[in-house]
Amino acid sequence: MSRFFTKDHEWVDVDGDIGTVGISEYAQSQLGDVVFVDVPEAGKTLSKGDEAAVVESVKAASDVYSPVSGTVTEGNAALTDDSSLVNSDAEAAGWFFKLTLSDPSELDSLMDEAAYATFVEGL
């Protein structure tokens, strides 16, 4: 399984043709206390860059874009009950949604962990 990042601070773990998407540790630290997450429903078709989810902190609401194209298979129901998972475990239990990749070649334009770390350092 490999992990990729976008410049908008989403990550996607890819296992076969299934991608799991969330926001980065850096993003959650910038947002502060997350109070609500609106995740997409299964069956929704997304193109790369589409608005897929919304994450709300106390003073801001931010869109989360899909890093790749595909069809949503599952939204993370655990976030409905406990949105603070995004703060406590952004890059694992705080995932937003899973999707079936329709064009795996899109991954080529994303950053790997090292490249993202460099990108964040430069911000």
């Binding site: 109070v35 609500f36 609106d38 709300e56 902190s57 106390v58 003073k59 801001a60 609401a61």
Partner: protein, 452 residues
């Protein structure tokens, strides 16, 4: 009023900065035909302050005001007694100059007031939560319809024929821009509300059913079967209350399982004021709070454990979400909400119930008296403080004749529903605690004489 004069050099300096040669350059977007090409016709170029005052008061005297005539107008705006203390308190500098919480957490007094307002509204409407004031009842009704679309992801709203036609009109205007489909109809002069017809219309595309309670003809019905029918199809029930005093006497829509309850708060604390500003009420079930327009004022504790108030869920508002905001109405009618809240506080729960009883008893007496007039028929078999009479002739000219005699007899349905011949004989009569037995007798005698 302050007068801030501009000198010609001031004007020229400003025009130079924005790159305009003349003042007229600023108005090039306004079509020529819509521009004023000289002094306003028949208006003198100047007059003394005293002369203007005298002229304006002469014009004002041509009005027949609510306070100087037997008054039976309702249909969404009601003449109730507002205690003088309400007006006095809202004009205190602490409220009047700081009522818009631009720096919310600093304005603790304003936030506390909004918190009290929300609590009162939620209890009155029977909902889990209520927000801190919308613009007015009609726009709150529209906000509820789009909220139902967000929740159900469906775009067809069924509006009861008993919903105020002006509320329908506002919704239609807004729906032009959102593409929502609105299923509407005019009411019938019958004792029953249209609940069965509404239930029959609900399908898998229906986002919500909107019903007014009491409705435009003053009718009241148990909304539970309608709520059940909506929920069976995963649609929402929206109830609209234009006379909140009624909820001092009758079961609230929230208690009958309505999902969203909206209303007009003018009856409490806010005068008729020629039609505005008014204050919208908006409550819903807890599970839908994230889709509710506006924001909430919440109670919390600070780092030292002291009680405090904060605005919460503001992240859905236009200053943060812009075009994705749940609502783009930029007012919270804060001062009217304050008046509402003070009036409610002065009344208390027992007082509100008593006020409601007085209203209802007055309306029952009036309905009995007026329906004794030969040819006049009472349409309703249930009502709160407003009912509909069916006259033997068109109501509109009758209302006009009575107005000429100094009696404001009610709202003719011919005026509310132009072109609906079946409604032309309908007259909606409202009675409140301000209506005396003499007022009713004056109306009854004059009406009998005109119809004879």
């Amino acid at each position: 009023m302050r007068y801030l004069p501009l000198t010609q050099p001031d004007r020229e300096a400003m025009l130079a900065v924005i790159g305009a040669a003349t003042i007229d350059d600023l108005f090039v977007d306004v079509p020529e035909a819509a521009r004023l090409d000289g002094p306003v016709r028949d208006l003198p170029m100047h007059a003394s302050e005293m002369a203007v005052e005298r002229h304006m008061s002469a014009l004002a005297k041509k009005n027949l005001t609510a306070g100087e005539a037997p008054f039976f107008l309702g249909c969404g705006a009601y003449k109730h007694h507002v205690p003088a203390s309400v007006d006095h308190l809202i004009q205190r500098g602490e409220f009047l100059t700081a009522y818009t919480p631009y720096q919310p957490e600093i304005a603790q007094g304003t936030l506390q007031m909004l918190f009290e307002f929300q609590t009162q509204v939620a209890r009155l409407l029977g909902t889990d939560v209520a927000n801190a004031s919308m613009y007015d009842g009609s726009t709150a009704c529209w906000e509820a319809i789009v909220m139902a679309r967000r929740i159900t992801k469906r775009g067809k709203a069924i509006l009861s024929s008993g919903l105020h036609p002006h509320y329908v009109s506002v919704s239609k205007t807004m729906a032009k821009f959102t593409g929502d489909v609105l299923d509407t109809a005019a009411p019938e002069l019958a004792a029953d509300m249209d609940l069965d017809q509404l239930i029959a219309k609900i399908d898998d595309d229906t986002s919500c059913v909107v019903v007014q309670y009491p409705d435009i003809l003053g009718r009241i019905a148990d909304l539970r079967p309608l709520a059940d029918a909506c929920h069976a199809k995963k649609a929402l029930l929206i109830a609209v209350v234009t006379e909140p005093v009624a909820l001092g006497a009758i079961t609230s829509p929230g208690e009958m399982d309505a999902d969203i309850v909206v209303g007009e708060g003018q009856s409490l604390g806010v005068g008729l004021q020629f039609g505005g500003p008014y204050v919208g009420l908006f409550g819903c079930k807890d599970k839908y709070v994230r889709q509710m327009p506006g924001r909430l004022c919440g109670e919390t504790v600070d780092a030292d454990g002291r009680r405090g108030f904060v605005l919460t869920l503001s992240t859905r508002e236009q200053h943060i979400r812009r075009e994705k905001a749940t609502s783009n109405i930029c007012t919270n009618s804060g001062l009217c909400a304050l008046a509402f809240s003070i009036h409610m506080t002065l009344l208390g729960e027992a007082g509100l119930r008593q006020l409601a009883e007085i209203n209802h008893a007055g309306a029952v007496s009036a309905a009995e008296r007026l329906s004794q007039i030969p040819g006049v028929e009472l349409v309703n078999d249930s009502f709160f403080n407003e009912f509909t009479l069916k006259l033997p002739t068109e109501a509109r000219p009758v209302v006009r004749t009575l107005a000429d005699r100094g009696i404001l007899a009610g709202v003719s349905l011919g005026r509310l529903y132009p072109g609906e011949d079946a409604l032309a004989n309908g007259l909606v009569v409202a009675v409140t605690e301000t209506t005396t037995a003499e007022d009713v007798e004056t109306l009854a005698s004059a009406l009998q004489e005109i119809l004879a």
